[in-house]
């Protein structure tokens, strides 16, 4: 049964991908991309990767689609017909695809429990991490502790993206209170938004702190919290959103999140261990692991929230400036 669901989802993905190749209406393309992302989140669930599905749904189907739509609002929704379509891309793709298929021929078979990756390195994560790190969610243990350096790198990648977007676009402020760009006439939306936004923020906090016990953690929580504020900005207008959360403040917040994460590492060094060695943070190593993980996840959540909202501000304020429909 599981294989059947898998197969159906994969088939739908293939159809979506093929359709994207031939569509000229970019709005439809972006929507199909959102669908693609969502379907892949479903596949991740079917493949037992719940944390990943959560992240893909919020980050891929959520943020990516929003940013693409924001770009389309500024660049136009039709793709021009390609006059000189050449055969070269097809050849390159053909060769690459053939090489990949060749490479799959002696891959470890799908799903078999005695594949190499289940025999080496992973067994310790599965058997020992509940004792060494003390968390039920093994993915969080590996992400935040064993491979915490990767996660620091990832947080810095997110921070770099904010630097890039700010360098390219900047957040456009208006001196006078701009003509209300919120959805003035939609009273229903105003009321419903006011009801939903606090719930979204509450959910974000839940995801942030419950990530040790179930799917969740800093990244997903940051994105969900940002989504709450993006909703606010969409319904009540960007100037109101700027009044609630200042763009400049967000920049510093993002920087603060990265520093929070890195400072845990530095503190571990000062206590005599290596960088990011949480065992040093408390007398009992497992308690130290817990402290370390909570703080760094907080750093991650803060940075991701600030960066995602910042990027939305940057894109959103461009539209106001050029006054596109």
């Amino acid at each position: 049964m599981a294989e059947f669901i898998d197969l159906v989802l994969l088939a739908m993905l293939a159809i979506t991908a093929l359709r994207v190749i031939f569509l000229k209406d970019l709005f439809a393309v972006v929507m199909l991309f959102g669908i693609y992302s969502f379907l892949s989140a479903l596949i991740f669930v079917s493949l037992d990767a719940v944390d990943v599905a959560f992240t893909e749904a919020s980050v891929g189907a959520g943020i990516s689609t929003v940013l693409m739509l924001g770009t389309l609002a500024l660049t136009g929704r039709k793709e021009k017909k390609n006059e000189n379509a050449s055969i070269l891309p097809l050849l390159v793709v053909g060769v690459t695809g053939a090489a990949l298929i060749y490479g799959t021929l002696d891959m470890p078979p799908f799903g078999h429990p005695d594949n190499p990756i289940h025999e080496h390195v992973a067994p310790r994560y599965i058997e020992e991490s509940p004792k060494e790190v003390g968390l039920p969610n093994m993915v969080t243990s590996v992400l935040a502790s064993y491979r915490g350096f990767d996660t620091l790198g990832e947080t810095v990648v997110v921070f770099s993206a904010m630097i890039g977007v700010l360098a390219l676009l900047g957040v456009v402020r208006r001196e006078e209170s701009a003509p209300e760009s919120g959805l003035q006439s939609h009273r229903v939306l105003h009321v419903v938004a006011k009801l939903i936004i606090p719930l979204i923020i509450l959910f974000a906090l839940y995801v942030q702190f419950h990530g040790d016990f179930g799917p969740g953690g800093g990244f997903q929580a940051g994105v969900i919290a940002a989504a709450a504020f993006i909703l606010y900005a969409l319904v009540f207008g960007l100037p109101m959103a700027f009044a609630v959360v200042e763009p400049k403040f967000l920049e510093k917040m993002a920087a603060f999140g990265v520093l929070l994460y890195a400072s845990v590492g530095v503190y571990s060094m000062l206590k005599g261990g290596h960088f990011l060695d949480y065992n040093q943070l408390a007398a009992d190593p497992v308690a130290g692991q817990h402290y370390g993980i909570i703080i760094i996840e907080l750093g991650v959540g803060i940075t991701v929230f600030a960066v995602m909202l910042s990027i939305f501000y940057a894109f959103g304020s461009q539209a106001e400036r050029s006054n596109v429909q």
Partner: protein, 515 residues
């Protein structure tokens, strides 16, 4: 505490400094702080090289978890050498940037420039010293994103399309590397580089592993701009701000060359790559074409930065040529050229940046008569240019010498001849610019300009003098490069020994090897 954690500092210092700059906010402070941190990183790199040359490989378990369960930083002669290049060029470029970016980058973006520069430094350092294949991908993306940002900071709108093309090609390259690493992981179960080296050959020439190798090689080739995947480089280096071009031309592609070397020698084993997969021949052919295509294109450009950019494609060809010779001498030549090219190109781009600062243009016409008006800048350009050609007493000569010797050692007479022919082309493209500067009169109505200030001249001349110093006294660089090359070949020998001990055994499914 410092001694124990020295290995992690090259990454931690710029990584922490970047967000601090955002919090500090003001750009004058930003410059001073960034330069200071970069200088510290340079000192640490120096310490590490000295330590590794006397004590051997340095291993550092991040998070206290030992490899392969945790991420390991692993410093040996090869990456310590390149790290020193990266950190020193970064510091010199930062000193140079303060004035240079006044004319090239919008003032509101100066703080972001310094932040992005430090992020790039952190990313490049991370790529160099990590011992974990996936961690390498993460730091690769940090440095890449910072690079795209840096390139796009210029005022000329062509930097935007250049940055975008760079982004698309770079991301394809990184994704190919990710696919390759995934295939390796699938067959071995580990991501740690040394562990991979041990476990890759448990299988007798597995298709998955070979495909993984191919994808990694293609991905890295995009990043190091090996012909024919070099198309992103000329526009990016031409239209980026001069300080950015100086930094990137000296570091970004070199780090990618290091990654290729690391994968070939330490992880897969040179024999496997060169003999079983015939990569040597492919790389050699591509490298030679790169040398000629790059040199030829450089000779026909009217924009001087474009000349230097195409010249970089050619120089990368020389480096890969050295690697493809599959000998300790060839590898050493390639490694030496990594160091030397940074000195040459860094100085050249800085000189061109100084011309832009005064003249507002980098077309070859703008160089006319500058020999008299900007004597120090043009003298720097001349010496560095002679170095690119390969005139004795400069580091360029040292690189060419070792490359030719290594080629002759293998009886590749044709290759040696081609290397010398490449130098002749370099005479053309450098010569045109020198001719304009020294033998042509300034155009009608062209403004008379003065020399640039010491803040821009000093870093330029430090690099130029280093060109001469290391060209005369080659002991430091050749020693380090030789040690690195020998160590890399030794890594390969160890893999060979492992393969021999396994070749007799029946290999059906992987047996658990003790962690």
């Amino acid at each position: 505490m410092l001694e124990q954690n020295l290995a992690a500092l090259p990454i931690i210092l710029p990584l922490i400094a970047a967000p601090i700059i955002i919090i500090l906010g003001r750009s004058s402070l930003a410059w001073a702080f960034a330069t200071f941190v970069s200088g510290l990183a340079c000192l640490v790199a120096w310490e590490l090289l000295a330590s590794v040359l006397s004590n051997g490989v340095l291993s550092y378990a991040v998070g206290g978890w030992s490899a392969p369960w945790g991420i390991e930083l692993r410093i040996d002669a090869a990456n310590a050498f390149v790290l020193l290049v990266v950190a020193s060029v970064s510091t010199l470029v930062l000193i140079y940037s303060k004035q240079s970016i006044e004319k090239e980058i919008d003032p509101s973006r100066h703080t972001l420039f310094y932040t992005a520069h430090l992020l790039c430094l952190a990313g490049l350092s991370g790529i160099l010293i990590t011992g974990d294949a996936f961690n390498l991908f993460v730091f690769l993306e940090i440095s890449s994103l910072a690079t795209y940002t840096l390139v796009s900071l210029a005022s000329d709108r062509r930097c935007l399309t250049a940055a975008f093309r760079y982004l698309v090609m770079g991301t394809i390259g990184a994704t190919f590397i990710l696919i390759g690493v995934g295939m390796l992981y699938m067959k071995t179960g580990t991501l740690n580089m040394l562990d991979l080296a041990q476990r890759i050959h448990l299988y007798d020439s597995s298709r998955t592993i070979n495909t993984g190798l191919a994808f990694i090689m293609v991905g890295v080739s995009i990043k190091l701009a090996l012909f024919p995947l070099h198309m992103w480089l000329p526009p990016a280096y031409t239209h980026a701000p001069s300080a950015v071009s100086a930094f990137l031309a000296s570091t970004a592609t070199k780090v990618a060359v290091y990654v290729m070397i690391r994968f070939i020698f330490t992880i897969f084993g040179a024999d496997h790559v060169f003999n079983e997969m015939s990569m040597g021949a492919i790389l050699m052919v591509l490298a030679v074409v790169a040398v000629f295509k790059g040199s030829y294109m450089a000779a026909v450009q009217s924009n001087v930065k474009s000349v230097l950019a195409h010249s970089s494609v050619a120089q990368i060809g020389y480096m890969i040529l050295g690697v493809s010779l599959f000998s300790a001498a060839g590898l050493m030549a390639g490694l030496i050229h990594i160091f030397n090219h940074a000195l040459m190109k860094g100085a050249l781009f800085m000189a061109v940046g100084a011309v832009f600062y005064r003249m507002g243009s980098v077309d070859i016409k703008a160089f006319r008569g500058l020999g008299k008006q900007m004597p120090f800048t043009m003298a720097a350009f001349t010496i560095a240019g002679l170095s690119i050609i390969g005139v004795p007493l400069t580091v360029g000569f040292v690189s060419k010498w070792y490359l030719v010797v290594a080629a002759l050692e293998q009886n590749h007479w044709i290759i040696a001849a081609l290397v010398l022919a490449g130098s002749l082309l370099a005479v053309v493209y450098i010569g045109r610019i020198l001719e304009a500067a020294y033998f042509n009169e300034p155009e009608e109505g062209q403004k008379t300009v003065k020399e640039v200030s010491w803040l821009m001249l000093a870093p330029m001349w430090i690099l130029v003098l280093a060109n001469i110093y290391f060209g005369v006294d080659t002991s430091l660089t050749t020693d380090a490069a030789q040690r690195a090359s020998e160590m890399l070949f030794q890594n390969s020998q160890e893999i060979n020994a492992l393969m021999e001990s396994l070749h007799g055994t029946e290999v059906s499914v992987a047996q658990e090897v003790s962690p």
